[in-house]
């Protein structure tokens, strides 16, 4: 399947399901490590998803606030707020890394 077939397939689907993961401090503050989410059609980037999650209020609003240093990965690669997302993607939110 090439990318244009994939896009047609996604356009046919009424809902684009994505997997959202949370790690470390974010996982604890938000009280969950993973969820499946139906993406509203207007949410097309990782940054737009972050904005959407923030509207849940409470810890979501404070932890995902624009001023917080939240890192994003899309399909297990470091991403930015502008990175496009769509059905089937795995999007992860986490604090700056502290390994080594």
């Amino acid at each position: 399947m090439d990318s244009s077939d994939l896009e047609k397939g996604l356009a046919r689907a009424n809902t684009a399901l994505v997997t959202v993961l949370y790690f470390a401090r974010l996982r604890e503050a938000l009280g969950r490590d993973a969820e499946e989410l139906a993406l509203p059609s207007e949410v097309r980037t990782a940054g737009a998803l972050r904005d959407l999650l923030r509207t849940r209020g409470g810890a979501w609003e404070t932890e995902l606030a624009a001023a917080k240093p939240v890192r994003i990965a899309v399909n297990q690669s470091m991403a930015s707020g502008n990175t496009p997302i769509g059905g089937g993607d795995e999007i992860a939110f986490f604090p700056p890394v502290t390994g080594g």
Partner: protein, 153 residues
């Protein structure tokens, strides 16, 4: 190239010995990171390392691939431990083999600097004041940043 994420400890001598097969190798540079008992003024009794399974291995492989593009090196080994660790425990191992020491030293430092800022690991410390997530350091970002736009030597 050999990349491992594991809870078990590792034997530095055995790892280095395993890299010695190629007769063209003239140098192996190696770094071992240990758990300190004091961080940011607090006594650390225990450290828990969390990671993002799947992405971790991918990020480490990408960092090693970048080092092989920059320097003429022959073999790389990276081991990073996860789970519960204590002061004096080994956390991370990076070894680079090449024909000469220059590229081995440089690639080893590059891999560590990128690992600190790009690989999805997070440390949580147990201190007398309770548990706390370790904050990322600006000095680590600066260390990784200095490789940008710099040619391999």
């Amino acid at each position: 190239m050999n990349i491992r994420v594991q809870t078990e400890d590792f034997d530095v001598g055995a790892e280095l010995a395993a890299m010695r097969g190629d007769r063209a190798i003239g140098a192996i540079a190696c770094f071992v990171g240990l758990v300190r008992d004091v961080n940011d003024g607090s006594v650390v009794a225990e450290l828990t390392l969390e990671h993002y399974p799947g992405m971790t291995e991918k990020a480490l492989a990408d960092i090693v691939a970048q080092s092989k593009e920059r320097w003429d090196i022959m073999d790389v080994r990276v081991i990073h431990r996860v789970g519960r660790l204590h002061p004096t425990d080994q956390i991370v191992f990076v070894a680079v083999a090449g024909a000469h020491r220059g590229e081995a030293f440089a690639a080893c430092e590059f891999i560590m600097d990128y690992l600190k800022t790009q690989a999805p690991f997070w440390k949580k410390e147990q201190t007398p004041g309770g548990e706390r997530w370790v904050d990322a350091r600006a000095s680590d970002d600066a260390a990784a940043q200095r490789w940008h736009g710099r040619e391999a030597s």
